[in-house]
């Protein structure tokens, strides 16, 4: 088991945002975490990354608890998040953004190698290396956000709504790159509102509703589940 999330309870002041969330990610899987606005998807990812501390519950990575580790240590152990809304460092160049992704790594040769691999997936970034992050288009920013995440050499990539605000053709491109990344051995926890897309690339999925996991199953099961069809696939 790569990642086990056990009975997480997270509060924002009095708001009980995660109410006993449990799920797991096996080595090599793509897991979709779907849910409506405010369900707690981003909160789940931030808690795994160590930005938010749970009041109770446990997060276990390959048998070791990472629940109380500082965020930078969690990155060093290979759990890397690409946050919602891309969160590119606008006043840093594309190259500097990528370098920040590799912050926890030391070997310059290996880092350059990773950067070349990122350029293979996103050739457009290479043309824009010295451009400021804030001047990229939305689609390019999403590519940079994912590329920056890959620079940390993740074992588990947490993607928070990578398709948000992108034109359909770009969504296709991003999802095919997600498949590619997974094929290279990176496990992926994919948070999406676009449930159809997410479940079409995922092995398994979980449905989060107001802080609770209400459904779990293989991607196929969820795609054919009447509740999922009703609530997340537009009723078709």
């Amino acid at each position: 088991m790569l990642l086990e999330v056990q009975n997480l309870n997270v509060y924002y002041g009095a708001i009980h945002a995660l109410q006993g969330v449990s799920f797991n990610v096996e080595e090599g899987e793509i897991i979709a975490l779907i849910g409506a606005n405010g369900a707690g998807k981003s909160t789940t990812l931030k808690t795994i990354s160590g930005l938010i501390r749970p009041r109770s519950g446990n997060i276990v990575l390959r048998g070791d608890s990472i629940t109380t580790l500082p965020a930078e240590e969690i990155v060093r152990r290979g759990v890397v998040q690409v946050p919602e809304g891309r969160k590119i460092f606008a006043p840093l160049t594309v190259q500097e953004n990528l370098e920040m992704g590799a912050y926890s790594r030391r070997d310059p040769a290996e880092i350059r190698q990773s950067m070349e691999r990122v350029f293979k997936s996103f050739p457009r970034l290479k043309e824009r290396l010295s451009q400021y992050g804030g001047t990229l288009s939305g689609g390019e920013q999403q590519m940079l956000a994912i590329g920056r995440g890959l620079m940390a050499r993740p074992r588990l990539l947490l993607l928070d709504e990578p398709s948000m605000g992108l034109a359909p053709i770009l969504v296709e491109e991003i999802f095919s790159i997600i498949r590619e990344i997974n094929a290279q051995g990176v496990s992926i926890l994919l948070v999406e509102q676009n449930a159809l897309m997410a479940l079409s690339v995922a092995n398994r999925g979980y449905v989060l509703e107001t802080g609770r996991i209400v459904l779990a199953g293989t991607a196929d099961e969820l795609l054919h589940n009447p509740l999922v069809i009703q609530a997340y696939l537009g009723g078709h």
Binding site: S49, G50, L51, P70, A71, E72, V75, R76, V80, Q81, P83, K87, F89, A90, P91, L92, E96, E99, M100, G101, Y103, S104, R148, A152
Partner: protein
């Protein structure tokens, strides 16, 4: 309606500002024409002061950029730097150490090396003090409301001043500073330029270039910029934000430490409250330039230096200190983001 009213208020503010600028320009040009020698002398004096302010104000602006805290104790750290250099020179003759180690140095070179040694000592002391203050006083309040940290900063400021005034620490009296080298003055067509002035400008420029290189090129400098822009995302990169904050305090204090030695050399009288006014003025310079902006702090400081010296020279010497706060109020009214600041930070 609301929009019209704001527009009109802004228009009036602008008109007022332009009027003030025109008046200032008139006074300056008239004085430039009637007595150019005096005018250039003033400009030179203002430049000297401005470069010292620049070294102080960078600490304010960098720390604000990262933790959104106005570190009111910064001016007092500056004061400690000046006192440390005083004791190093007058008690321990640190400035003569190079001459003792290497025999046969010319007196100029040994004074030069000795001064560098004193500056380095002050820089290190200020860095150590600032990072201690950060650890002890500010870090526990990282997630508290901002006003709590601000009040703490004011408290630390008082603490440093009155602690330094104790007899077994520094002293509560004025003391005369002993310069690590003798003053030389050159007269260029009536305008007096001292070696102190040249040393201040050159040293300050060297430090500014080094700082710029650190922030632009090094890994920690890039991490500083990333953290300043978006702290949570910086943490997602694996950046140790606490380390970056500590480094920022150390860097800002080191610059203030260097500035404090230069300041004491130029204005050789020390008192434990000596950091208050330069600190406040450097803070105004940072606000004027756009707080959080490094080039802004630099340009703002040069403007502050000129504004202070010229208003003291041509309007009234008592205006000297008031001018800083007049500028602060004007900036906050007309352009609160300062010259180089973004209208609204991305800060979450």
């Amino acid at each position: 309606m609301q929009r019209v009213a704001t527009w009109r208020r802004k228009g009036l503010g602008r008109l007022f500002l332009w009027g003030l600028a025109a008046l200032a320009a008139y006074v300056l040009i008239r004085n430039l024409v009637t007595n150019p020698t005096l005018f250039f002398q003033q400009v030179i004096n203002g430049l000297q002061l401005g470069f010292v302010y620049a070294l102080i104000s960078l600490g304010y602006t960098m720390v604000y950029g990262i933790v959104r805290l106005i570190n009111f104790a910064h001016g007092d750290i500056f004061m400690v730097g000046a006192f440390v250099s005083f004791y190093a020179i007058s008690r321990f003759q640190l400035n003569q150490v190079p001459a003792q180690i290497v025999g046969g140095l010319s007196s100029n070179i040994s004074a030069f090396l000795g001064t560098i040694l004193v500056i380095i000592l002050s820089m290190l002391t200020c860095s150590a003090l600032a990072t201690t203050v950060e650890r002890v006083a500010y870090k526990p309040l990282r997630n508290a409301p901002r006003i709590a940290a601000l009040i703490t900063a004011i408290g630390v400021s008082f603490f440093l001043e009155y602690f330094a005034a104790l007899e077994f620490v520094f002293t509560s009296d004025y003391i005369n500073y002993q310069r690590p080298f003798p003053v030389q003055v050159w007269d260029i067509r009536g305008v007096k330029i001292s070696n102190i002035m040249l040393i201040i400008v050159v040293t300050a420029i060297i430090f500014l270039v080094i700082l710029q290189q650190i922030v632009r090129r090094t890994k920690i400098g890039k991490a500083m910029r990333a953290t300043s822009y978006d702290t949570p995302t910086a943490r997602l990169m694996g950046i140790n934000v606490d380390g970056v904050i500590t480094f920022t305090f150390a860097l800002g204090a080191a610059l203030a430490g260097a500035g404090s030695v230069l300041y004491a050399i130029a204005y050789p009288q020390l008192i434990v409250f000596m950091g208050i006014l330069p600190g406040l003025k450097a803070f105004v310079a940072a606000v004027l330039g756009g707080i959080g902006s490094i080039p802004g702090a630099f340009i703002g400081s040069l403007i502050m230096g000129q504004a202070e010296v010229l208003s003291a020279g041509y309007l009234s010497t008592t205006l000297r200190d008031a001018i800083a706060f007049t500028i602060l109020i004007l900036v906050l009214l007309v352009r609160p983001q300062g010259l180089f600041g973004e209208p609204e930070g991305e800060k979450v």
